[in-house]
């Protein structure tokens, strides 16, 4: 790849400060786009949709055709890993994910190697997208982080994670082993994604909120370190963005102790926390998806404020959480125009 076409996202993750930050949105391939809704209607089962390289590549590319995003993120789901490890996963319309009974740890352990093969369609999606995408636009692969994935596996679906946190307190050895199993499956899955064309890898710790700091260290930071070490041991040097969502007060600790190249910040992260992290690595975030949906002059003001407070260091513009399905596309265009200056 020529110097000319190095994607801005990779420049920022190697520590560069750009005049205009690269920009992408979490869930940018999704329900706010009518073409996505039409495509999704052709495949009633969500997991099957994620594992259909033709459809998943098309969903990944849809926002790239109509919007000037700097990067593309593979269309997939953080619950593909539990499914590949043999736990039943399905989606009830309008209700979010459901998971069957948690298999024994021995059974899960025995499925780690096979899980990667079951997820090869995600690699095929990445290869298709990489072939279609302009070289200056980066391609991102991802996995759910171990605590978040384990909490779904324990709770059987979306929840306040109290059952999973109680599991961490009452059965610490089993929890540590479950986290380790998910981490090892994730290393193989992410390495396969890098091999297939992902230039950046993101770890989604969607449920880092509400954890006491000793638990945050044990069930968030430690498994993240396991994954990054596992990737590096395999020779995968792809930059990693970590997203400890809901843990702004511990984001600096995370940045200091986990060897990620970028830290994604959530909606509630104060300016000074991001600035402190920017002294040593890139940050990403953190427009409120509710403000994006609401639009108007308050949206413009907040975009300018984010560019002002974080644009002086390595910065990737993004939302603080996924885009909401009923967000007007015009609001997305309004923000992208401000951020890209085009």
């Amino acid at each position: 790849m020529s110097e000319h076409s190095t994607p801005d996202l990779l420049k920022v993750l190697s520590g560069e400060t750009l005049k205009r930050p690269p920009v992408w949105f979490m869930r940018q391939a999704g329900r706010y786009l009518p073409e996505y809704r039409a495509l999704r209607a052709t495949a009633p089962d969500f997991i099957a949709f994620c594992l259909d390289p033709e459809k998943a590549a098309e969903a990944t590319l849809q926002p790239m055709r109509r919007l000037p995003f700097s990067a593309s993120i593979v269309f997939a789901d953080i619950l593909l890993i539990p499914g590949a490890l043999g736990q039943k996963v399905w989606f009830e319309a309008g209700e979010g994910p459901r998971l069957g009974e948690l298999p024994s740890l021995d059974v899960l352990e025995g499925e780690i190697e096979a899980s990667t093969f079951k997820l090869t369609p995600v690699g095929q999606t990445l290869s298709r997208v990489r072939a279609a995408l302009e070289p200056e636009r980066a391609l991102i692969g991802f996995a759910g982080a171990p605590w978040t994935v384990a909490s779904y596996m324990i709770e059987g679906g979306s929840s306040d994670r109290s059952k999973a946190r109680t599991f961490a307190y009452e059965r610490p050895e089993d929890m540590d082993r479950l986290l380790d199993i998910v981490a090892r499956a994730s290393v193989r899955y992410l390495a396969m994604q890098a091999e297939a064309g992902a230039q950046v890898l993101k770890l989604f710790e969607s449920w880092a909120e509400g954890l006491p700091e000793d638990l945050f260290e044990r069930i968030v930071c430690k498994p993240h370190r396991t994954i990054i070490k596992g990737l590096r041991d395999l020779g995968v040097e792809t930059p990693v963005i970590g997203f400890p969502r809901g843990a702004a007060s511990l984001a600096q600790y995370y940045a200091e102790t986990v060897d990620v190249q970028g830290v994604a910040l959530d909606t509630a992260c104060p300016a000074h926390v991001g600035q402190a992290i920017q002294k040593t690595k890139a940050i990403q975030g953190a427009l409120d998806p509710l403000l994006l949906r609401a639009g108007g002059p308050a949206l413009d003001r907040r975009v300018e404020q984010l560019l002002d407070q974080w644009g002086g260091g390595p910065y990737i513009f993004n939302l603080g959480h996924g885009i909401l399905p009923d967000t007007p596309i015009a609001h997305v265009e309004q923000v992208l125009k401000r951020v890209t200056g085009q």
Copy 2:
């Protein structure tokens, strides 16, 4: 009151560091106690129960009889204010609060004065409790903070507050006015509680989580300042504890900009945030209620850790959130024994 009987809670809120911190638990009068469940069964309507001074005083005193808590908090509910302002409030068994349609701001405004009179039973509860309580045990009054109360009023019940936050973005003037109405009603309500015997007042901002810092300043800090100024203007010098739950990364900002005497910290607040606040005021918190329920050696270790990390400054031992209904009383006794050394 003699020097001898000044409650430890008041000493700490005036800046003293005690060898053993005072201790109380949020929702210490509640469903984990069989005597509470028996009392509650005599009054099917929860709001009516809160507004029955005899029953509410009994509920307040129940935990004080069997457990060595340093302070007592009046049995009441943060949704008494919307009810007193004329919005319908009721509780569905097992479902949490429900609220009727939000009255117009003009109607709410017109009800501020009358609301305080409707809440005089809470003052009667406080007087009864104060008369029965040993002088060395402090009595706490409280109100929900304006954003939390307003979010219930807008959402019509428990929720992710996305409707209320959207209201703040799309109708900023109406939101500011609603917050101001709740703040003014709360000033009168809290002044009445102080008059009736409350020696400490607590502002419960139960839903401070997930707010961008500009919104946190506008809808959390500013209304808190309005309430404290309102109290001081009325000559009420009672110390105030503010609880911006879920906003650990902004707790120090809160402590610096809101003239509270104590800041209550939640389960996820890191040690260093509390230590920074302790340089100028008292802190309270922050044992995980899930760990209290789980019990065992991990509970003992965490209690020691909290005492170590915060015991060197003005500190009130508490949970990071309310005690869970299915918490074994033996676990509460185990913690109180460690904290009080008795």
